[in-house]
Subunit: 110 residues, 2 copies
Amino acid sequence: MSHVRDLQIDTGCPDTRALVEHVTSKWGVLVLLALDHRTLRWSELKREIAGVSEKMLIQTLQTLEADRLVRRDALPVVPPHVEYSLTDDGHRAVELLAPLVQWAQHQVRS
Amino acid sequence: MSHVRDLQIDTGCPDTRALVEHVTSKWGVLVLLALDHRTLRWSELKREIAGVSEKMLIQTLQTLEADRLVRRDALPVVPPHVEYSLTDDGHRAVELLAPLVQWAQHQVRS
C-alpha cells in the first residue's frame, strides 16, 4: 500500500511525468524500439519510422538525448555522419515499455 | 528482432496508441494506482487525487471504464452511492505501469 502511495506522489512530480510522457509518446516509443537492437543513422531512422516528419524526429531525438536515453554520435567525417543508439538507460526504458505496449495491443484486439 | 518489429507496427495502431495514452496520462496513472488496492467512492477518489478537477476526474473515469479497466458500480440506494474499482485488466495495467513510473522517478532523481 505504501508502495502505491509513494508512486502516487511521484506521478505528481513534473519531471517524472515529463519522462513518462517522453517515453510513451507516439514517436518516442517508435524511436526507442527502433534503436533497441541497432545503431542507426539519421536517414535510416527516418526510413524506419514510417510517417514521422523531419521536425518531429529531430524533436523526439533531442528530447530523448536530453533524457540520456539516446546517444548521438557525430563522426568526424565528410560528409557528416551522425549515428544514434540507446544508452543503458534507454535499453532499460524499452524493457519496461515493451510489455506495456504488447499488453495494449493485445487488449484492443480482444 | 521480429519481436521489436511487431511492436513497432502496433504502436502505429491508433487504438493501441490511445490505450497507452489513457493509462500513461497524468490522471489515468493516478486513478489506476489509487484503485489498485481499494474500491473507492467518487468523493474518496476526488480527495485521494490531489489537484484533479471534477471535469478531468469524470472524463478520466469514463475513458478507463470504456477501456474496461475501471468498473463503476452504482448501488441502488438513496442518496446515490457510486463505487469505482479496477477490473482484472485494470490490475494488469497497474502491474505494467508501476515499474515504468518507478523507473522514471528514479531516473529524474539520479
